[in-house]
Symmetry: C2
């Protein structure tokens, strides 16, 4: 089963296109939880149990584990999701970006160590920084395109010589060149709704990961999720 088929099965099963992001900031945990030995794992497990029936995927953000030297808790969390909700895709949100040989090791981190179904990656270093992930043909590769943060415009909204903004150039590159095995998706922030529509127009029915609906306070209209 590939990431795409697993994702489509999850959509059918729960009737939901909600990807549940896990950004467990331990400094904001309840005091009684904060000092327990596996606090991050426990916090995330409760969210997974409460939301799995209404979700099409779980997206842990690795930075919150890395800052706490809690990689083992992330491994335990991924194991837990796979065992309890084997139909639920796991997207490792790590936004890695590095050259080929190094990217192979990042791909092994995501797909072998954590056994994630998909991973987020950064396109700034170009195709050979994404290619090693594509060798894992049953996994998803979700490329940053138009991110949801304010600073996203600093580079992504720059216009090229032909008037195309950089983020649409990335969308074209991924859709027309990089997605040779049909395993790619794009990150397009819900905070920039016109841009979601512009990307959708170019990439057919490629799945879009659309962050920025929660803490960033934007409403997402479902029509943008699928063509």
């Amino acid at each position: 089963m590939t990431f795409s088929t697993k994702l489509e099965a999850a959509w059918s099963r729960t009737g939901s296109m909600l990807m549940v992001g896990l950004d467990p900031d331990i400094t904001r945990f309840p005091a009684e939880l904060q000092h327990r030995p596996h606090a991050i794992f426990e916090f995330c497990r409760e969210i997974v149990d409460a939301t799995a029936a209404y979700a099409c995927g779980i997206k842990p953000q690795i930075a919150y584990f890395a800052s706490q030297a809690a990689e083992e808790q992330l491994q335990a969390l991924c194991d837990y999701v796979r065992e309890q909700y084997p139909w639920l895709p796991i997207v490792l949100d790590s936004k890695r970006g590095d050259i080929g040989s190094t990217a192979s090791h990042y791909a092994a981190e995501a797909f072998d160590r954590y056994k994630a179904d998909a991973v987020t990656v950064n396109p700034y270093m170009g195709f050979d920084s994404v290619e090693p992930y594509l060798d894992w043909q049953d996994r998803g590769v979700i490329v940053l395109c138009r991110t949801s943060n304010a600073g996203g415009s600093d580079l992504q909204f720059l216009k090229m010589e032909d008037g195309t903004p950089l983020y649409l150039h990335v969308a074209d590159l991924v859709a027309n060149k990089w997605n040779r095995n049909g395993q790619c998706s794009l990150v397009v922030g819900a905070t920039f709704t016109d841009e979601v529509a512009a990307v959708r127009e170019r990439v057919g029915d490629m799945p879009l990961l659309v962050p920025g609906i929660g803490a960033q306070g934007e409403i997402l209209l479902q029509r943008w999720l699928r063509a």
Copy 2:
């Protein structure tokens, strides 16, 4: 002591501008070393001991540790360098890039957990993805500009409406806006020598991290390292 002053002191001490990259691929280790419990740490420690007197810094690439679940060995390595060679700057090569709240956790990973003197970051998500690192004013923030890999051209060499290639736009952004505390540097690959010169022309005497001299087989002319 800031990263800049530590780097300058290391240049003076060893008379060297060589940053020693540690990309410890365990599959390429000698067989007798491969299966030892702290093989990656031992391999790296030997390189550090052999090169410290000829180097101005040590740059471990975190992906090679992450793929092997060897974060503790990376911590031990950083501890070892700080204890044995306290004058030698440690650059954590992680090329992180994410939005503000998440970037704060990546900054804590680099500067608190590993106590690195500097970290490499990716500019694709813009200023607010770099800002949290700048709050650590005694540390260095080394922004990807023109990377040494072939695919680097896919985005970085695209020309903007005014004819400026993207990588030079990034150089301008960092030099004129992001470097408000004087702690930024740029990554400019030695494999694109004309571009190293073009960046140097724009950023004054900002330190440049110039990879691609080893495995990527290019020769670096020292005049490009400093204006």
